[in-house]
Symmetry: C2
Subunit: 396 residues, 2 copies
């Protein structure tokens, strides 16, 4: 509660209008607000409740009036379009997808243990799965004249948020044109999250939702769309959210040499049991739970779990719904936007005193996770997807 008081003490603080947050969230940064739920909560629900879905804000939350909200669209043959919220909702069919969003920095804390990186010290819970409803970006662009004429020149679709820093610079990002306009891309201009208005922390009244792609491109509080032959010129597209070799440091880094992160690689992590806890030998088995997801619509096809540090492996059960619910129908190829939760009971060896639990996932292109963190370490601490390891004691 202390931070709320701090806010209300200074009405000139750009962070004075921040929404109320759920007390279970673990705060990585207060201004801007960045927080994740306790990891154990993640595997409790196939659809992550909005209140505990990780919050990743780069700037203060803008409080927008749905009556005066306008979305501008530039770069189409007819000139600039200005669209109200009710026009967006009434003019275009409402589509709903279930999709996982993951922060580029999810699991950054494991990279920090290898060597200090620059960025928020995320644990394993800067990821969540939600249902999103809104207009398809494709439908909107086609309605306002996108066609072969524009396709011949344009290569990117840029998004600009209505969140701004003190100098007036807005958050921005872009995605490749093909992802934006293809039927299979499923990019939404979302106005609902989990069946309700998108909450303020997640982009009310309208955010982009780019499934299969790093969270940073799903621009919140969307103010402007620009169809362009260039990527967004924003800091976050050009000089951030890129991957580098472990040998590259801040003196040698050339941000132009690496592509902006779009599709993310295969990922998985253990949500239960927690590091440092104990399992009881008399239980005979240890139940291990977690999540797995891959970018680019690649479906998770297998999760391997070890309790001996990676020497022997067991195949986990994959779940696409909550317990007792029907599993979700299989997604079309290349459009697996949702994570899978997984679970397995593994017999505890008689003489074990400690278990090193490890998980690794495989996606439909048979991509796998790297074994260790150090060789994928990078100065921004992004793309941290090595095998996840949890040590627990065995008590008798």
């Amino acid at each position: 509660e202390s931070y709320k008081k701090q806010e209300s003490a200074n009405p000139l603080d750009p962070y004075s209008a921040e929404p109320t947050r759920h007390p279970a969230l673990q705060i990585n940064s207060l201004k801007p607000f960045n927080a994740e739920p306790p990891a154990s909560l993640l595997s409790d629900n196939y659809i992550t409740p909005s209140v505990v879905f990780f919050k990743r804000n780069h700037l203060p939350v803008p409080r927008l009036d749905p009556e005066t909200y306008r979305l501008e669209i530039e770069g189409l043959p007819g000139g600039v379009v200005s669209l109200s919220l009710s026009e967006l909702k009434s003019r275009f069919p409402k589509h709903t997808i279930t999709a996982t969003l993951q922060c580029a920095g999810n699991r950054r804390s494991e990279m920090n243990k290898v060597k200090q990186v620059k960025g928020l010290n995320w644990g394993i819970a800067a990821i969540g799965n939600a249902t999103w409803s809104g207009a398809r970006l494709r439908d909107v662009l086609l309605y306002y004249g996108f066609g072969p004429e524009t396709a011949a020149k344009a290569k990117h679709v840029q998004f600009e948020g209505l969140d701004r820093d003190v100098t007036g610079t807005a958050y921005g990002a872009s995605i490749p044109l093909n992802k934006a306009v293809s039927e299979e891309g499923d990019v939404l201009l979302a106005y609902e999250m989990n069946g309700e208005d998108v909450p303020p922390d997640h982009g009310y009244p309208v955010r982009v939702l780019v499934p299969g792609v790093v969270g940073a491109r799903s621009v919140k509080w969307l103010g402007k769309i620009v169809v362009s032959n260039e990527e967004s010129k924003s800091h976050w597209q050009q000089n951030d959210y890129k991957g580098f070799s472990p040998g590259t440091d801040w003196d040698t880094v050339d941000f132009k040499s690496a592509p902006a992160i779009q599709e993310l690689p295969i990922q998985s992590a253990i949500t239960h049991p927690a590091e440092g806890t104990s399992v009881d030998l008399s239980d005979k088995e240890v139940t291990v739970k977690g999540y797995a997801w891959s970018g680019g619509g690649r479906e998770v096809v297998r999760v391997d779990v070890s309790i001996d540090g990676g020497k022997t492996w067991h195949v986990a059960r994959l779940c696409t719904s909550d317990k007792g619910q029907h599993p979700a129908p299989p997604p079309p190829p290349g459009r697996a936007w949702s994570w899978k939760l997984w679970e397995i009971d593994i017999p505890i060896p008689h003489k074990a005193q400690e278990l090193e639990i490890v998980c690794k996932a495989v996606d439909s292109s048979y991509n796998t996770q790297p074994d260790t963190v150090a060789p994928i370490w990078n100065l921004r601490g992004v793309l941290s997807n090595a095998w996840h390891r949890v040590k627990v004691k065995v008590s008798e």
Copy 2:
């Protein structure tokens, strides 16, 4: 030469009509013929010459007459189509793509060192890059009536070869419908390889070329195409060319539980220097060369090279053409079908007696290779894409 004599000794041998092969090839199996070039040859040419392009035959090479050759197409509204070679060439525009093909078993020999697997003992050269010309499968299917009616029911496109075993069973495979019909899929019915007729070992007169996908789906000596709601029922689609957990053995394997391999994961290997050779300390630097490629049209964006077993890493130069040639224009996003060759000169540390050279690549979805072989070991020895390691001595 001994095997040629053996063939001619028995005209009833189904392998009596095999083509002549280049003497540099290293033979893994004579009947059917399976062979790869010396690894050092691979990085000599951005376009692999056809004569040394790896040969991967499942059955005897059928010797087909271009005058009587017919391609059948089933599963389209108009009924069965029968197409001659000259019709295929004249009726459809000729498209040319440069694409890498890799055998699912490339680098299987490294898995065999962990524990015996079932399959041909390929080194690192069951991969090659070639230009392929032919009709686009998309154009052919649309010409013969593919449209929304078929798309609503069909999910796969099956291919059947004209190569048959003694019982009359043909080689067969299938790919997802979307890959076959999308504009970006670039699937060809290829009748030229590197500017000449497709050679007999590579599928004369017509083969499928599915870029970004495991070689096994690029069916050679193509006899039939079937648009279907089911995958190919062939052995190679159903009970082979699938990946499993290292804990799965021949007693427990359930082939239905894993998807057929389509897109391959990120791959790279060192072609120079060779294992066990020496580098000269007086040269001050060691030149390391190799290849890197990823499936699904994902572009290779970086190759990291280490000479200390993976403790420190250097970024290699990537090449998309032969020395002195202009680099290839960058491919459209998601359509990077060709490998990249890479090269780097690394200073030899003063007191080094041995170098453990290691490479690992990164693709445009920031997928990386796993560190070690054992955790991706699988009973069929496919998908072997751990870091490649070569040890060389340092001589003074």
